[in-house]
């Protein structure tokens, strides 16, 4: 097992950027599962990366819009920003689904048809010693393929290991394309993975779906095996708080 001192800041950053080879990645994952301090640091880095990405998504050559503007007099803005947004999203989930604060989100995830369903995955989750979350935000087909390769590798290893494992793949933003039945090139592969393993689940971000649909491009159609969570980022944050190991793809 890797020594804590070996997992430098550079390695942690490379880990969340998907720049670590699969074998080393698994070693780091096991290490993270044993070290809450490192896991917390990974969460901070991921949150920073996501916030940065989101803050410039709307920066386009055309004016962002013209009607109302907000400006900075002091660069410090305060606590009503991102964290408040995440907290608000979580609160919305609780209010919508009447969910107890500490219950796993899997209990309230909607199926592709919008109904609340119990999952075989949830049983596997309770018995799992290792829980791994893959997070996809990119529509790059190479990244999608690599993510599925990594997931398959882990599933194969878990079958040979005594340590039970669950894997969740969550997609938001541009990464949602992986789960869109009219766009994805990986439909058969995802279907097969889901059929052959009860310890994997695919989750789409409802906020991303709503944003796409409100853009006037029509209804978003997901693969039948894909479930929905209210907010992809909230799901990622919650999973990390529950001790899940995280891989950014």
């Amino acid at each position: 097992m890797m020594d804590e001192r070996v997992v430098s800041e550079e390695i942690l950053n490379a880990f969340i950027d998907g720049e670590i080879e699969s074998e080393d990645k698994i070693e780091i994952l096991y290490h993270l599962s044993e070290n809450p301090r490192l896991t917390k640091r990974v969460c901070e880095l991921i949150r920073t990366k996501e916030r940065l990405r989101a803050a410039y998504r709307s920066a386009t050559p055309d004016q962002e819009s013209t009607a109302v503007s907000i400006s900075v007099n002091q660069w410090k803005i305060g606590r009503f920003g991102y964290l408040g947004g995440v907290a608000a999203s979580l609160l919305v989930v609780v209010l919508l689904f009447g969910r107890a604060p500490h219950a796993p989100l899997s209990e309230v995830v909607l199926s592709g048809q919008g109904a609340i369903v119990p999952t075989a995955f949830h049983q596997a989750e309770e018995q799992a010693a290792v829980r791994i979350l893959f997070h996809l935000t990119s529509d790059n087909p190479l990244r999608m393929g690599k993510l599925l390769d990594d997931v398959q590798l882990l599933l194969d290893q878990s079958q040979q290991s005594t340590n039970k494992m669950v894997v969740e793949v969550i997609a938001n933003s541009d990464g949602l394309d992986l789960f869109r039945s009219d766009i994805t090139a990986y439909s058969d592969r995802i279907h097969l993975m889901s059929k052959e393993n009860n310890n994997i689940r695919f989750v789409a971000c409802q906020q991303t779906i709503d944003r796409i649909e409100s853009g006037g491009t029509g209804k978003v159609h997901l693969l039948p095996v894909v479930e929905r969570a209210g907010s992809g980022i909230s799901q990622v944050v919650e999973r990390q708080q529950q001790g899940w190991s995280y891989i950014q793809s």
Partner: protein, 194 residues
């Protein structure tokens, strides 16, 4: 046949260069936080890339090559002009009037992150923008900035650490928001005060 293939390949590259304007702008803006400068930088990059597209050895290297052109242009012309970003001049525009509360919160979040990024030193700002905003691999970022991958890793780690600290500091401060009319234009203008 080979000539036809070469011609169509060249046309594809040129189309890709032109189509990359939005991505170039996003990164350029995150480097200088000035819309006009970012737009100029983008246009200069695209013009240079189109002019020299024949020098490109492989289509796979197009992204790294274009961002290398842009970073050279940035260092030459814009760096001297504005080494320091005027954080207080940052603005974020919203469509609705008056804006919904959720939109104001989102705008605050965006400004908080942009203002924090603007305070990083230039080299950190450039690397973190390429990796996080553009989504480049370390290899492509190394090529774009003409630095070794080891330097990408160490510089990125310092940049993210500093950004984490700046965001943490800003989150701990108490804001006071007020709505005011923008002089002359009679538009509601949200000002964030410490």
């Amino acid at each position: 046949m080979k000539i036809v293939q070469l011609f169509s390949k060249s046309r594809e590259v040129r189309e890709r260069i032109i189509d990359s304007r939005e991505r170039l702008f996003r990164v350029a803006y995150s480097w200088c936080h000035d819309r006009h400068h970012a737009d100029d930088l983008c246009q200069e990059t695209i013009m240079t890339a189109l002019e020299k597209s024949g020098q490109l050895r492989s289509e796979d290297a197009l992204d790294g090559w274009m961002f290398r052109i842009m970073q050279n242009a940035y260092r030459k012309s814009f760096r001297r002009a504005s080494k320091q970003v005027d954080v207080e001049s940052l603005e974020y525009h919203m469509e609705q009037e008056p804006p919904a509360e959720a939109d104001v919160e989102r705008a605050e979040e965006i400004l908080q992150v942009r203002a924090s990024l603007a305070q990083l030193n230039e080299s950190q700002r450039m690397i973190i923008a390429l990796i996080d905003i553009e989504g480049m691999s370390y290899k492509d970022a190394a090529e774009a900035l003409e630095i070794p991958i080891g330097t990408v890793m160490s510089r990125l780690a310092r940049a993210r650490d500093n950004l984490c600290c700046l965001l943490q500091e800003s989150t701990e401060s108490e804001p006071a928001l007020k709505l005011r009319q923008r002089r002359g234009k009679q538009r509601p203008h949200l000002v964030v005060k410490n």
